[in-house]
Amino acid sequence: MAPRRIDFREAFDRWSRICEVERRDVDARAAKGETLVSREALDHLCGLSVESGLKYLMITRRLVTADRDGDFPADASNRRPHINELWDVFMAKAGGREGTALLRDLGGADQLKVFQTWSSQNRYAADDTVRAGEVRPRLDFFKRLRGVVAQEGA
């Protein structure tokens, strides 16, 4: 059976459901003054969610054209960007009023800094590799992205 085309919206919905549960838990714990735990796992979950959502938006808003597998186009070395590079690619491609509107909805150009230090290698990282101060703005960006994706319709 031929593999299904990649559907980044489906991927985003899947990852974001779990990430949203975790994000709410983080908020609840923070309200009680508890320390953020399992930061590396949460950070990885957040990165996967945002990567799926941003790729979905870039394809939907015609900033990129998906390849024939529905995947985000690879570079000349057949490498596809993770979220740590994806924002730079987004910024390099966004232009005109539509691109500007999307950038505004996503929180502006300062979001550049949020994921630049995210690393796919951290999925196996030891505790305390990722700082709480890095995870919090990524979760905030996730929350904002979730709202933008929701407005794209089903």
Partner: protein, 447 residues
């Protein structure tokens, strides 16, 4: 304290860096400046820089660096070679810049319409309030008198003017250009909209052989009304601003605003079959003029007076094409300067000043300096200062008091003698322009 790196300096530093390192980083260098002004270097797969190089350029660019990690991007991640070539402008041999702008001002992009089978004449002034729309109305009425079916499209969306000279408010059609745009955004700028956004001007007299069809910027459905009509006042109020505020949003089928305007004009021309189309372009360096002047085809009349502010603005506009002369080659033969509001006293020195300023502009940005240049096969595009056929040589529109309050749709108060005194030389000049004369010629002969 270290001085901040400013916008222009950042680009200069990036260029300097690329020129110094170009051999190490690929055949053809591409710089990209994003929406916020951050600069990036686009490289081939094997063009990744060392950490030291990243750090050096990051420091050189100051606040216009996106950070050492984002300074380099592999070009294939940003777009196909065709996409990358579309919007780039040349900075130097083998060095190009892709400049992402918030506005849809694709001054350097390819035309969206070929030189039209229906002749189009764009009325443009880099400064407003110079009598551009009034001159357009004069040409429309003149063409109608000699039997032409003229379509006037009001593209001065933020400040509709030509419409009210040709149509009384009560005669407006239901829709206008802004309605077409918002309907098109959801894919339903259909035949009904095209039909209901055009109406005949009552300014054309019963003895005139032709007619003037008007496509207003604003339709009657957007006009505030005291009496309840088909829509309640609460829904009419503010609806024009609600439409205008969405006018520059790209549509589903095109990637930019000029493409949408081109599609709208094509559809209107197919449906209503005019002999000639007159476009009243918004003044200034705006998304609309970035479409009408270089990209929609047709003759472009550049309205101007002798003031320094006008010519500085034109120089800013024309300088966008100096980086790539081939862009200007597409339409330079269709440009013509118009001396606006030539005063009743001191006409000759006024016209001389406009001509001299226009010649300086065209010499700097349009004319090829060396007629013997072998850069291309055609003869050099060059005209002498006093050559009446040069596009810099101004066609005069004479100022008259009677024209200040001229509203032909309400009957008007301008006699044919006054009309001829103000517009005669201008009209004869426009009709003699090569592109206009060719496309408006009829078996009976051009007017």
């Amino acid at each position: 304290m270290t001085a901040s790196v400013r916008f222009d300096e950042a680009l200069a530093r990036a260029v300097e860096w690329v020129q110094a390192h170009r051999c190490a980083h690929g055949r053809e260098a591409l710089l990209l400046r994003d929406l916020s002004g951050h600069l990036r270097v686009l490289t081939d797969a094997d063009g990744a820089p060392s950490d030291e190089e990243r750090a050096a350029l990051h420091e050189a660019l100051g606040a216009f660096s996106p950070g050492p990690r984002g300074l380099w991007l592999e070009r294939s991640l940003v777009g196909t070679e065709e996409e990358l070539a579309r919007d780039r402008v040349r900075l130097d041999d083998h060095l190009w810049l892709i400049d992402r702008l918030v506005t849809e001002q694709g001054w350097n992009r390819a035309p969206v319409s070929p030189p039209a089978t229906v002749p189009r004449i764009t009325f443009f002034g880099v400064k407003g309030g110079v009598g551009r729309s009034t001159a357009l109305v004069a040409l429309a009425l003149h063409l109608a008198r000699v039997g032409k079916r003229v379509m006037v499209v009001d593209l001065d969306l933020e400040s509709p003017g030509v419409t009210s000279q040709l149509l009384r408010t009560e005669d407006l059609p239901p829709f206008g250009v802004t309605d077409w745009i918002v309907e098109d955004a959801v894919g339903q700028a259909d035949e009904a909209v095209l039909e209901d956004m055009v109406t005949r001007s009552a300014a054309v007299g019963p003895d005139d052989r032709g007619e003037v069809l008007v496509v207003p910027a604003v339709g009657s459905r957007s006009i505030p009304a005291d009496e309840p009509e088909d829509l309640p006042a609460s829904l009419r109020d503010g609806s024009f601003v609600a439409k205008l505020g969405r006018a520059y949003m790209p549509g589903a089928a095109d990637t930019d605003f000029a493409g949408r305007l081109g599609r709208m004009l094509g559809a209107l021309e197919s449906k209503h079959r005019p002999d000639v189309v007159l476009l009243d372009s918004r003044a200034g360096l705006h998304d609309i003029s970035a479409a009408t002047v270089p990209r929609l085809g047709g003759t472009v009349l550049l309205f101007a007076g002798p003031t320094a502010q006008t010519w500085l603005a034109y120089r800013l506009m024309f300088s966008t094409w100096r980086r790539d002369a081939t862009v200007l080659w597409r339409f330079r033969a269709r440009l013509r300067v118009v001396a606006a509001q030539v005063p009743e006293i001191g006409r000759a020195p006024y016209l001389d000043r406009v001509r001299d300023e226009a010649y300086a502009l065209f010499s700097s940005f349009v004319y090829e300096p060396d007629p013997a240049a072998e850069s291309h096969a055609e003869a050099a595009f060059n005209f002498a200062l006093t050559d009446p056929d040069g596009p810099h040589h101004p066609l005069p529109v004479y100022w008259r008091r009677e024209l200040v309050e001229w509203e032909p749709c309400t009957g008007g108060s301008v006699t044919s003698e006054q009309f001829d005194a103000a517009f005669g030389p201008f009209l004869r000049g426009v009709m003699a322009l090569p592109y206009v004369a060719e496309l408006t010629a009829t078996p009976e002969g051009a007017p």
